[in-house]
C-alpha cells in the first residue's frame, strides 16, 4: 500500500487473542496498538488516531456498545466487533450503535483479514466515489439511476431501487434490518422487517444468478443484509 503505515487499535481483554490478531494484522502490514479494556481503548483510539478499531464486546470494565457510542461522537473510523455470544441482539445492538461489521468467536484469521480489507476499501471509496457501482455482472449508475445486468437494463420499482442504493452506499458493511427500514421506508416501519425481506427477495430475483445462493446480496442471519461487490 502506498499510504504511510496504517494503524489499528485492538481492544480485547484476552491477551492470547490480542496476540494472534496482532500477528495476523502485522503480517498484512498494519501497525497494531493493544488495549485491554474500554478506558484504555478510548485513550488509545483518541491518541493514536487509528484507521481501524477491532473491538471485543465482552470487556471487563464496560460494555463494548458504550465504547462504540462514545467513539462515534467524534470518529467515523471503521469498527469490527468481536462477539463470543451467539445472541444476535448483541450484534444488532453493536451494529446499530455504529459498528461496521462483526465476527463471532471462534473466528478464523483469514475471515478477520477479509473483513478488515472490506472495511478499509469502503473507507477509501467513500472519498472519491465513482458514480457507477459494479458487482458481478450488474452495474448501477447512481447518477442516472440506471440498473443493468450483463448489459441489459433491469426494471426496478422505486422501493427496490432505494433499497439497492442504500446497500450500495454502505457496500461491504452489515446493515441491520432497522437501519435499512429506517432508510428506505422511514421511521414508521422499523418493525415491519417482512417488507424488507420481500423486496430483498425481489432484488435477488432480478439481480442474482441463483437467488437461493446469492453471491452479492447476502443475508446476515437474524441481523441484516450486506452487499458484497
Amino acid at each position: 500500500m502506498s499510504d504511510p503505515v496504517k494503524s489499528v487499535v485492538v481492544i480485547e481483554d484476552e491477551a492470547q487473542i490480542r496476540r494472534f490478531v496482532r500477528t495476523a494484522l502485522e503480517a498484512e502490514g498494519w501497525r497494531v496498538f493493544e488495549a485491554g479494556g474500554v478506558k484504555q481503548g478510548l485513550v488509545e483510539a483518541g491518541t493514536r488516531r487509528p484507521d481501524m478499531v477491532i473491538l471485543d464486546l465482552g470487556l471487563p470494565d464496560g460494555d463494548g456498545v458504550d465504547f462504540l457510542r462514545d467513539l462515534r461522537t467524534w470518529s467515523s473510523v471503521p469498527v469490527i466487533v468481536l462477539s463470543a455470544r451467539s445472541d444476535e441482539s448483541d450484534k444488532i445492538g453493536a451494529l446499530d450503535a455504529g459498528a461496521d461489521d462483526y465476527l463471532t468467536k471462534p473466528f478464523g484469521v483469514g475471515e478477520l483479514l477479509a473483513r478488515v480489507r472490506v472495511a478499509q476499501r469502503r473507507m477509501q471509496s467513500a472519498d472519491g466515489r465513482d458514480p457507477v457501482f459494479r458487482f458481478g455482472e450488474v452495474s448501477v449508475d447512481l447518477a442516472a439511476r440506471v440498473v443493468s445486468k450483463a448489459g441489459i437494463a433491469v426494471h426496478l420499482t422505486p422501493i427496490e431501487y432505494r433499497l439497492l442504493a442504500c446497500l450500495i452506499t454502505n457496500a461491504g458493511k452489515v446493515l441491520t434490518h432497522r437501519q435499512l427500514l429506517l432508510d428506505v421506508w422511514g421511521p414508521s416501519h422499523v418493525e415491519s422487517s417482512h417488507y424488507l425481506r420481500i423486496y430483498m427477495s425481489q432484488l435477488r430475483q432480478k439481480l442474482e444468478d441463483d437467488p437461493t445462493q446469492p453471491k452479492h446480496l447476502l443475508t446476515e442471519t437474524a441481523v441484516g443484509f450486506r452487499l458484497v461487490a
Binding site: E14, Q16, I17, R19, F20, V21, T23, A24, A27, G58, A84, R85, S86, E88, K105, P106, F107, G108, V109, G110, A144, R145, V146, V147, A153, H155, L156, T157, P158, I159, E160, Y161, S192, S193, H194, Y195, R197, I198, M200, S201, D210, P211, T212, Q213, P214, L218, T219, E220, T221, A222
Partner: protein, 909 residues
Amino acid sequence: MPTHRDNRPNPDSLLQRVQREAAQAERGRLRIYFGSSAGVGKTFAMLATARKLQSEGREVLVGVVETHGRSETAALVEGLPLLPQKQIEYRGNMLSEFDLDAALAARPSLILVDELAHSNVPGSRHPKRWQDVEELLAAGIDVFTTLNVQHLESLNDVVGGITGIRVNETLPDTFFDSADEVVLVDVPADELLARLKAGKVYLGTKAEQAAQNFFRKGNLMALRELALRRTANRIEDEVQAYRSDQAIAGVWKTEAALLCGVGPDAGAEHVVRSAARLANQLNVAWHAAYVETPALQRRSEAARERILRTLKLAQELGATTTVLTAHNGAEGLIGYARSRNLSKLVIGRSGRVRQWPWVRRLHEQIASQATDIDILEIGRGAAGRAEALDAGATQDSTPGRTQMRDEAMRIRPYRYALSAAVCMLTTLLLTPLRHYLDQANIVMLFLMMVALVAVKIGRGPAVLAAFLCVGAFDFFFVSPRLSFAVADVQYLVTFVVMLAVGLIIGQMTASLRFQASAALSREGRSRALFEFAREMSTVLEVPTLIDMAQTAVAREFHAEAALLVIDAHSQLQLSNAAVDIGTAQWAFDRNLPAGLGTDTLPGSPFLYLPLKTSMRTRGVLAVKPVNPRFLMIPEQRRQLETFGALIAIALERVHYIEVAQEAVLRIESERLRNSLLSALSHDLRTPLSVLYGLAETLPLTAPPLSDAQRAVADAIQIEAKRMGALVNNLLDMARIQSGDIHLNLQWQPIEEVVGTSLAATKTSLASHNIETQMAAGLPLVRYDAVLIERVLCNLLENAAKYTPAGSTLRVIAAPDGSMLKVCVADNGPGLPAGQEEAIFEKFARGEKESDKPGVGLGLAICRAIVSAHGGRIRAAPASTTGATFCFTLPLGEPPQVPEEMDSSSENAQ
C-alpha cells in the same frame, strides 16, 4: 303498538335456556309415568314403551319393576333384561333393593326404575329411590319411572285430607318438575273400580281392604282431578318455556318472588307446602325464612329440630332457605324481603288466641311497618288442627308454653326449695326488726329478695318467691299478725302491687339472665371462631394445618375429626382409618355434604363436609360427634360449616404459598442455568478462539515453517474448529433440554435461510454438487432464522459427511397441505434400514463405531427445533437412491405488504 324491543327474548332467560340445554345434554333424560292412584296402569304403560324401544334397537334394562302379582304386567317384563336385586340385611331380615352400583356399572342406554317415591332399605347409599335416579341421570343414563300423585310432597297433605291416609314416602316437587317428560296415565274412576273388582289391581283380601279404605269413588275422582291439574300446571310451564324460547310473548314477567315466613308452630309445614304450591302456580322463585328472635331461642331442642325440618322441607320444595336473626319476627322478615325484593309474604295464621289486647299479631306488625308488601295469611292445616286438639286437652295449645313447662321441668326441684328457704330466712330476719322498720321498708326488703332469687336461682323460683313473700308479709307483718286476714283494705293494694312488682322483677331479671347467657354462648362461639381463624392464618404447612384443624374441631364440637386433603394429583389423602374414603370421595366429587344428618348415607357415624373454595374443593372434613344430636342444632351446624370454610381458605392459602415458592424456585434455577450456560459458552469459546487463531497465524510467523510443522498447525486448526462445533451443539442441546427455546419468529422467505445455510456450509460442501428446487411463489413462513439455519446446516453437513465426494445434494422446498416441506436429499448410500427414527435420538449415529466424526447430537437438536416451530422432521424410508431428510413448518397467514404504486414504467427518471 308493541315496539320491536318487546319481541326480543330476555337475554337472561336465553342464557338460562342455554345453560339448561347444556346441562341436559350430558344428563340422561327422565320420563315419569304419572297417575292418580295405584292400578291405573303406569307400570304397564312404561313397560310397553320400553318393549317398543327395545324392538327399535335401544338398549333397555329393567332396574326394578313391581308387578304386584299382576299377570299382564309380569308378561310384559318377560324378555327384557333384568338387573339382579341387591340383598341387604336389615334387622335380621334379608331385604332386596334396587342395585344402584350395578346399574351404574351396566350403563344401559335406558333403565326402568319403578316407584319413584320408594324409600330405600336403611343401609342403602341414599335413603330415597329418587336420589338413586338422580345419580343415574347424572351418569347420563335415561330413566323411565312411575309416580302416584299422593307421593308428591306439596300435595301430600291435601291428599291426606281427602283420603284420610297420609303416605310417608314423598317426592320433592323440584325433582318432579325437573323431569324431561311427564306422561299422564289416566283411567276414569269407574273403570279403575271395575279393575279392582276384577282383581287386576290387588289380589284377594288385599283388594277388599283397599276398596274399603282408599278406593272409594269420591277419593278416586279427587285424586284424578289433582293428578290432571298437576300435569296441567306442568304443561303450562312447558308452554311458558316454549314461548320464551320462541319469543311469542311480548311482555316479560318481572322477577317477582315469594317469601314464606316459617314459624315455630306445628302448622308451619302446612304454610310451607301452601307457599310452594302458590309459588308454583305463580311461576315465581320463592324463599323460606325462619327468624330467630330472643324469645324463640329459648325453645327446646325438639322444637328447634322441627323448625329445621320445616326449612329442609321448604328446600326440597324448591325454596331458598335461610335463618335470620332479628329482634322480632316482623323486623327480620321485612328486612329480608326488602333486601331480596320479595313483594309477597306468606305467613301462617297464629294459632294462639290474642293474649293481650296491646300485643299485635305478626301480620298486623308487618302490615303497619311495610305497607308495600302483600301479606298472605295461611290458615292452619289439618296437622296444625290435630295438634291443637291434642294440646287443647292439656289446656296448652302453644308450643311456646309447652316449652316453658318443659324448661320448668328440667330445672331441678331443689331450686324451688332453696327459694322457699330464702323466703323463710328473710321472714325470720325481718321479724325482730318489724318494730324498728316501717312496713313499706319491709315490703322493699322482700322485693329485693325476690330480685336476688331471680338473679341467682332463676325464673320459676322467683315466681314462687314472689307469692311466698306476699303470704309471709301478710301472715307475719300485717295486723292481725299470724293470720291471713287483713284488717285494712289498704293492704290489698299493697299485696297486689307487691306481687306484681315481684313477678315483673323476677321475669325481667331472669330474662336478662337468659339473654346474658345466650350472649355469652354466642360470644363463646365467636371467640372460638376468632381463635380458630387466627390459628389457621399462621399455618404454613399442610401437615400442621391438618393437626391444628383436627384438634380445634374435636375440641369445639366434642367430636372425632378427620381432615382429608387432596394431594398434588387431586386425590384425597386418608388420614384416619375410621373414615370411609368412599363417602368422603362422594362428598368431594359432588361438592355436597354426606353422611350423618344429610340425604346421602345418613346412617354413617361421620358427617362429611366438602371444603369448598373459590377455585376448587380442597378436601373433606369428616366429623364424628360423640352425641349426633349436637350437630343437628342449627347454630352448631353453622359453626361447623364456618370452621370448614376457614379450613378451606387456609388450605387454599397454603396451596398458593407452595405455588409461589415453586415459582420463585423455578425462576431462581432458570436464572442460575442461564448464567451457567452463558459463562460456559464464554469460557469454552474463548480458549477455542485462541487455539484456532494461534494455529492459523503460526505459518505467518518468521521464520517460515517447514511442511511438517505447517501440517501440524493445520491439524490443530481443523480439530479446534471441530471442537468449536461440538461445543456449540452441546450448549444448544443444553439450552433445548432445559426447555426454554425462545423462538425469534419472523415472517421471511424460506430461500433466505436456504441461502445462508449453503453459504455457512460452503467449506464442508466444497466437494459436492448443490442443487436447489424452490417451488414458485412460496409465501413467507414464520420461523426463527438462526435455529432453522442450524437445522439446514446440520442436515447439509450430515449429507456431506455420509456421501462420497462428487455426490449431488438437493435442497427442495414445496408447500404440503397447510405446511411448508423442506427436504435435503442426497444420492449417496442411503440410511440403514429401520433406522429412520432412531437416528433422531441423542448420541445416535448412522453407523456404529464409525470413523466419521461427530457425537450425533445434530439430528436431536434438529428435531427439538422443528417441533418447537410446530413442525415435524423425519427421514424418508431407506432406499438405495440416497437419503432424504424432510422437515415441515406451518404456513399460516403471512402479513400483507401493500402493493407498491409503480407508476413509472421505467425506473429511470
